[in-house]
Symmetry: C2
Subunit: 161 residues, 2 copies
């Protein structure tokens, strides 16, 4: 009986809140796949406030010939535009890859509440590079990391061919 009840509770909890980190990361992964199809390094990002997606974007550095056109940068600009203010309080960024120095620096200025990222970028990610986030920002890492990393690996393997 106990087992059955906890299973029921689990079902109930899922019914109450389908908006898990995985739920939103899937949307960021869809963006990463769009980048992949365009021949861009496949990174996708979305910004969420109160379970609502207010910005979605993917890396466009090649198409725009612009090193600043990372997925996160575009989402920060789009979310601020949507909110009508430059601070992203109560917002969560979901991004398939660990942000770089530039993006972490932009997130610092935005005072975003939460960052959820998928795969680590051991070489150029903000953790290795030592970039400081805003004290108000919490970080969750490793959400659907394998899916994000696989997409990256597939991209660079195809590129080498």
């Amino acid at each position: 009986m106990f087992k059955r009840k906890s299973f029921q509770n689990l079902i109930f909890a899922t019914m109450i809140n389908p908006f898990t980190d995985e739920y939103f990361m899937k949307k960021a992964l869809q963006e990463a796949e769009m980048a992949y199809e365009k021949g861009e390094i496949p990174v996708g990002a979305i910004i969420v406030v109160a379970d609502k997606v207010i910005a979605r974007s993917h890396n466009l550095t090649e198409l725009l010939n612009d090193v600043t056109a990372h997925a996160e940068m575009q989402s920060i600009t789009a979310a601020a535009n949507f909110l009508g203010g430059k601070y992203l309080k109560d917002c969560t960024l979901y991004v398939t890859l660990e942000p770089c120095q530039m993006c972490a620096g932009a997130l610092y200025w935005s005072q975003i509440s939460k960052i959820v990222f998928g795969a680590r970028d051991e070489q150029r990610g903000f953790i290795t590079m030592g970039t400081k986030l805003h004290p108000k920002t919490t970080v969750v890492s490793g959400v659907m990391a394998n899916e994000a990393a696989d997409l990256m690996k597939r991209f660079f393997l195809e590129r080498r061919k």
Copy 2:
């Protein structure tokens, strides 16, 4: 006679190359003054290649409601647009204030050849924050630093009133 000759040499040298770091920093300061007049934190930037200004901009974070609209970021995008490529090789950025983490991170990706900045930003500049620049990038600091710092001080003093 010696003195006269070295004075002549100095004149001659100035005639050959009027394009000193101060010459270009004055243009960046003009941009900073434009930001000041709009009520923006007064930071200006230009990008130069072969003594030609290919981008000029000033901070527009308030007007655009966008933390990413720093002077440097806009100049990086504009210069890449002008050059038709995202790498800013053989380019020099002149900026009135030491770049922040975000801007230094963008400059890292751009592989810019040289950064010349005016005043230090002891609190949030890339030096204090430990942001890494590209190994190809050289840095010159302190060019017209007093002028840039005075403009900043004047701005924050007026704001407090």
